[in-house]
């Protein structure tokens, strides 16, 4: 009860911080432009002639997030450390966990808002044809979970440094690994020489593999579990890193 109130207070502040700077608006505009461009121009939404969003819209999300999510997450802890407010935050009567979760939820919610603002595309596809809205809903859930996983990784890198640029670059590299592990050309390359079990293990770590099910409209508990545990593990690592700094 009390813990929840603290988390809410932290999250509220953090969300306010996004919208008090131009970052939020720049991010949303760029995200929507990218979505529009890739769906209609590159993804060939009209040419396909199918009432579905998976091949033209959701397909690109792992790649958009690769750059956009670390940009949202990079300031979370790096900025606190640079300005010194971390000393205020962690001497307040809250646990480090409440701060970590509060900050994460705020950013995740922000990404959720950006994602929801793509709603015109759902209206469009419904106007033009009769898609399976359940599949579209599953795609949105998967996309949001994937964004959360990227974000949690950015939390770790943000806690590691007081430099936002360093945080951004490291988290892009880590997220890239999670994409490439399931990227078809990379899998082909691996299959050439690695044992099948190794290829399977590597691909099972990929966000693309796990996002695939959601795009097809399948809410598989294993996929959900993958993203949730990736988030949990990353936030736990963040808390370890933060404690490590203070222990000196």
């Amino acid at each position: 009860m009390n813990a929840w109130a603290n988390i809410k207070t932290i999250a509220k502040r953090e969300l306010g911080a996004y919208f008090s700077s131009p970052l939020a608006f720049v991010f949303i505009v760029i995200f929507l432009l990218l979505c529009g461009f890739f769906t209609f121009m590159v993804g060939g939404f009209f040419e396909r002639g199918e009432a579905s969003l998976s091949a033209s819209f959701f397909l690109w999300h792992p790649w958009f997030y690769l750059f956009l999510v670390p940009a949202v997450g990079m300031r979370l802890w790096a900025e606190e450390r640079r300005v010194g407010t971390i000393e205020l935050l962690l001497t307040m009567p809250i646990t480090a966990w409440q701060a970590i979760v509060g900050k994460f939820l705020a950013s995740w919610l922000f990404l959720g808002i950006a994602l929801l603002l793509t709603f015109p595309i759902v209206i469009t596809v419904n106007y033009l044809g009769s898609p399976d809205n359940g599949v579209i809903f599953a795609g949105y859930v998967g996309s949001w979970l994937m964004a959360g996983a990227y974000l949690a990784i950015s939390c770790i890198t943000s806690a590691m440094t007081r430099n936002q640029v360093v945080s951004f670059i490291i988290s892009v590299v880590i997220c890239l690994f999670f994409i490439l592990a399931g990227f078809t050309p990379v899998i082909r390359l691996l299959e050439g020489w690695a044992w099948p079990w190794l290829v399977d293990t590597i691909t099972s770590f990929s966000v693309i593999t796990h996002f695939d099910g959601f795009q097809k409209g399948v809410l598989d508990s294993r996929d959900v579990l993958f993203f949730v545990s990736l988030i949990g593990f990353s936030l736990f690592s963040t808390s370890v890193i933060l404690r490590g700094h203070r222990a000196g």
């Binding site: 010194g84 407010t85 000393e87 001497t91 009567p93 203070r246 000196g248």
Partner: protein
């Protein structure tokens, strides 16, 4: 209220704080003095629970800061060094956030914010973003944050740093006023502040406490304490020096100034007491010197501070 026992902090192989023990009761204002890098901020960070100690314990209001961190933190108001504040918020937003995270809601929150805004004179910048504030205002905003829940314990790391003389005066008065009901620790390297505000002072050097007492007691450690300065007319240097040196209580006589009208001398006592001035007055009467000026020095904190902490820095340099 605050009890620190054998507190130590090691960074790598550097002993930032090395076995510090003291306690602060309600109604006390403890001044924390020391050269830069002596371990003042590190000690304060351990008290507030920002960094865990390598050894030793801190308890605040009976709560051990490691075992019951939340309960201990609830009692503390903390102003970190350099007064950090969220730059993207307005002063009002920031104070509301601080109040909320301290568990204040609705009317309580409103009252608390209004109270600190008034106490810290933040009315005029209330809706300005923290980023645009001058250093003095930012400092006071962070100070306001530390007292928003009317804490029983206040830990202030250089609360007057970067303020102009008027603001310094205000903050000192505020600390002294609050010190009547709270336990306060504050660090500074401005010695006049110790006299103005503290009921007790600790001098810390290279992680260890080297002096602990009331400002009065610390001053007694000075060579100056109890020294008598006298301006004598109708006499010259040699005679004065000779006669004064024969006084029982005098340790050393120094002539500060000499001209045709007389001499200015300072007599250092063997031990600080009020007697020396009497003796000099009697002597000058007996010798028919005209006594133009006579006063007893109180002892100077800056000198005590230097003699206690300097030898170390000197030997350090030689190495």
């Amino acid at each position: 209220m605050i009890k620190v026992q054998n507190l130590a902090k090691v960074f790598g192989n550097k002993h930032a704080v090395d076995g510090v023990s003291f306690s602060v009761e309600r109604g006390e204002v403890l001044g924390f003095l020391g050269p830069n890098g002596a371990g003042k901020s590190t000690t304060m960070r351990m008290i507030t629970g920002f960094i865990p100690p390598s050894a030793g314990t801190v308890s605040v209001g009976g709560f051990d800061t490691l075992e019951h961190p939340i309960e201990a933190k609830r009692l503390i108001g903390y102003l970190p060094e350099n007064a950090p504040a969220y730059t993207d918020m307005t002063v009002y937003g920031f104070l509301n956030f601080a109040a909320e995270i301290r568990g204040l809601r609705r009317d309580d929150k409103k009252r608390a914010v209004n109270r600190v805004v008034e106490m810290c004179f933040l009315e005029s910048v209330l809706h300005q973003s923290v980023e645009t504030l001058s250093k003095g205002y930012r400092h006071r905003t962070c100070f306001a944050q530390s007292i928003i829940h009317d804490p029983e314990v206040l830990v202030l790391d250089e609360p007057t740093d970067g303020l102009d003389p008027n603001q310094k005066h205000e903050v000192r008065q505020l600390i002294r006023r609050m010190g009547e009901k709270k336990a306060i620790i504050f660090s500074t390297h401005i010695l006049e502040e110790v006299d103005a505000v503290c009921s007790r002072a600790i001098i810390i050097d290279r992680g260890r406490i080297v002096a602990n007492g009331t400002p009065q007691e610390l001053r007694q450690k000075s060579e100056w304490a109890g020294a008598v300065t006298a301006r004598l007319g109708g006499v010259h240097n040699g005679a004065v020096r000779e006669k004064l040196s024969q006084l029982m209580l005098a340790k050393k006589v120094v002539v500060l100034e000499e001209n045709t009208s007389g001499v200015l001398v300072r007599v250092y006592p063997k031990q600080a007491s009020g007697e020396l001035a009497w003796n000099i007055a009697n002597l000058s009467q007996a010798e028919k010197w005209t006594l133009q000026e006579l006063h007893t020095e109180e002892g100077r904190l800056d000198e005590v501070f230097r003699t206690i902490t300097m030898p170390d820095t000197l030997t350090e340099n030689k190495k």
